[in-house]
């Protein structure tokens, strides 16, 4: 029983450490997305879809920018 509890405690400790590392790495968030699989080009994230600037605005996902009675959901950048 003690070994099982030790495994659970170690797993939680690793999870806390990983989330702390993530917080440290994403402390200066520029909206970039961390992805670790494959060499395919990363599509624009919801935040990038809503960005204005000199570059031409790509087609916006209709759902993310819908106006009406439902409030617009927050993008990953807004969560930080």
């Amino acid at each position: 029983m003690s070994k099982q509890l030790a495994v659970i405690a170690a797993s939680m400790f690793i999870l806390v450490g990983a989330m702390g590392l993530k917080s440290a790495v994403t402390s200066k968030d520029s909206g970039a997305v961390l992805l670790a699989n494959g060499s395919a080009p990363t599509p624009p994230t919801p935040k990038e879809w809503r960005r204005n600037g000199s570059a031409p605005t790509p087609p916006t996902p209709k759902d993310w920018r819908r106006n009406g009675s439902a409030p617009t959901p927050p993008t990953p950048k807004d969560w930080k």
Binding site: A10, I14, L15, A18, N37, G38, P43, A70, W79
Partner: protein, 200 residues
């Protein structure tokens, strides 16, 4: 590796058919990335089982993997759940953000686990060269992505450079593992102490 190959081919097909900025490609990309991240996590768990097999600790490694995976999923759901209102939670958007968050969090869990595994290999004086090569290449792979991501956040003006680096880094793990399985025989042995920096 086979899953990554299939996902890459499917992503290319989706991009060709629907376009790079299409919603279909974005959804497919992020969902497939979450699946690949979970498979990478399971591959890492199998490496742990290999290293701890002589200690008869495979059962505890498997238990730890399940607890860690479930804990990461619960944590990710809690983070996403907080960000959505009650009306928004019933929509499908929360699931997409949850999948996205799980993929990101599981990546960092894998990064920490890889470094712990390397420390365990040094401590247990593991000598199987192929296993060492697999773990080291996985550590370099995770670290390259994390460094690229961190530098991208620190220097957003140079984003073009880091965007180009991403797919190049993505090719590293398949090449490193292909080298490990092709050039290194199963019975090859290497003392990991030769790789560790020893204090003088």
């Amino acid at each position: 590796m086979a899953s990554e190959f299939v996902a890459s081919a499917a992503r290319f097909e989706m991009m060709q058919h629907y376009g790079f900025t299409s919603l279909a490609y974005a959804y497919f990309y992020y969902y497939s990335d979450a699946v690949l991240t979970i498979l990478l996590f399971l591959a890492l768990s199998s490496l742990y089982s290999e290293v701890f097999r002589e200690l008869n600790a495979e059962r505890y490694v498997q238990m730890g993997s399940v607890v860690l995976l479930a804990g990461t999923a619960l944590f990710s759901f809690a983070v996403v759940h907080q960000s959505f209102t009650a009306a928004e939670q019933s929509s499908g958007k929360i699931f997409f953000h949850f999948v996205f968050e799980v993929s990101q969090n599981l990546y960092f869990v894998g990064l920490v686990l890889t470094y712990i595994l390397w420390a365990a290999i040094l401590k247990l004086r593991e000598t199987r060269t192929r296993l060492i090569q697999l773990v080291l290449s996985l550590g370099v792979y995770f670290s390259l992505y994390a460094a690229n991501y961190a530098l991208r956040n620190l220097y957003p003006s140079a984003e073009v450079i880091f965007t180009v680096l991403n797919p190049l880094i993505g090719c590293f793990l398949p090449f490193a593992w292909a080298y490990a399985f092709w050039k290194l025989p199963e019975e090859a042995r290497l003392a990991p102490a030769e790789l560790a920096v020893s204090p003088r």
